[in-house]
Amino acid sequence: MAGESTSCPPGYSVEFRDDVAILWMNNGENRFNIDTIAEINRALDTVEGSSLTRILITTGVGKFYSNGFDLNWLGNQGPEINEEFVGRLYKLWIRLMTFPVPTVAAINGHCYAGGGLFALCHDHRVMRTQRGWWCFPEIHIKLPFRPEMMNLLQNKLSSPAVARDMLLFGKKYVAEDLLKIDVVDDICEQSSLIEVAINRARTTLGKDNYSRDMLTRMKEDINNNSIERLVSTPYYQAVKSKL
């Protein structure tokens, strides 16, 4: 099957292929703002509501997996909206980190900043070769992470040296680099990306599948440190009970 869906609708949509759900992000740079977060959540609702689904793949269309926060939009909002955005973002990360089925980020292109964070909230990452950079450019754009974001990122990276290069010095990586440092599990050509992502999830699923409840609880336990940090922020607390 082709890795790219040229008939993919614009925006965020879910495609079901047997027991696999694919969340297609077809929104240009796939940046995060309050509206796009809401659309992603609606898509995730659809996936969760499908009891036959046992795997979630997320992927972008074209040159971008995600370039991170919608900084242009954020710059035009007041502090209240900025804070609400952060709270809803944290909720989304927690939701993804504890999603009740195995998740794979199929990185089809550029994956920057908040996009990298989003990808790291998945159980697995696979990436296409020959195009697309992975980078946390915060040092270069002089926009430090919030401490709870830094904490989450550190928990997801394999060694102090990787954290130093990636988070402090904003190094750029291609797929081959990420494979070497265990940030991605598989790399392949773009045309095989979805297939490779599904295979990675199937390997994880094994024969017996998982109870959704158990998987969520296990993910909550393992990510306990990061989740507590995010939950304890005023941003999260302010949106905790909002839809």
């Binding site: 102090p160 954290a163 130093r164």
Partner: protein, 235 residues
């Protein structure tokens, strides 16, 4: 003390500052820490974009000057400022590289770990955290060690059981980034600095914030007002 300051001299190679420690075993006492801080002050005031520290002869640093320490009164010992110095290096507002030219033991290894990068010469010199063998704890440095040494086997061997490493061995752990023969060590360090800096270097303020957040627990533990007195009574 001008003669002592001479042993901790700063030189500049382009926009890289080099702090040369030329004081025998380069052990830490209050006077030597004062000299190092003066050198770091000079570097921060300059336009330098990266810092390399290096020892001389057979030693990078063998850690705390225990003999000096045993001669201090309790009050004087309290003022011993290795903990704040480690904090300062940990959050230094430019990329830092420890060029380990020889033995790097205990407090010297912790000082090296506080840097962003480590390179080491081959064929001479051990890298070691021998605290267990000296019946010392890491006290205020336990988070520095945790945030710089990979978890699992490496941490167990290096930090808990005080294993001694050659350059090749410590490179294999990832704790040292690259190794080369002594004659090429400074060039290697300069090359790493250049590679790290890229075209434009880094904004000092942003880098300091990032380091403070990335090494959060270590920074908190080593910040002024939070120092634990070393178990010097045991020495």
């Amino acid at each position: 003390m001008p003669e002592l300051q001479d042993k901790y001299r700063v030189e500049f190679v382009g926009d890289v500052a080099i702090l040369r420690m030329n004081n025998g075993e380069n052990r830490f006492s209050s006077p030597t820490i004062t000299a190092i801080n003066k050198a770091l002050d000079e570097i921060e005031k300059s336009d330098a974009k990266a810092l390399i520290t290096i020892g001389s002869g057979r030693f990078y640093s063998n850690g705390i000057d225990l003999k000096w320490m045993s001669q201090q009164t309790a009050d004087e010992a309290l003022k011993f400022a290795l903990v704040p110095l480690v904090n300062r290096v940990l959050t230094f507002p430019m990329p830092t590289i420890a060029a380990i030219n020889g033995h790097c033991y205990a407090g010297g290894a912790i000082f090296a770990l506080a840097h962003d990068y480590r390179v080491m010469r081959t064929r001479q010199g051990w890298f070691c955290l021998p605290e267990i063998h000296l019946k010392l704890t890491f006290s205020s440095f336990k988070h520095v060690i945790k945030c710089k040494i990979p978890q699992g086997r490496v941490f167990t061997d290096m930090a808990v059981f005080g294993k001694r490493y050659t350059a090749e061995q410590v490179k294999a752990t990832g704790v040292v980034d690259d190794i080369t023969e002594m004659a090429g060590l400074m060039d290697l360090a300069l090359h790493m600095a250049k590679q790290c800096l890229g075209k434009s270097g880094y904004d000092r303020e942003t880098l300091k914030i990032l380091k403070t957040d990335l090494y959060e627990d270590a920074v908190k533990e080593t910040s002024v007002g939070n120092q634990q007195l070393f178990n010097i009574a045991k020495l």
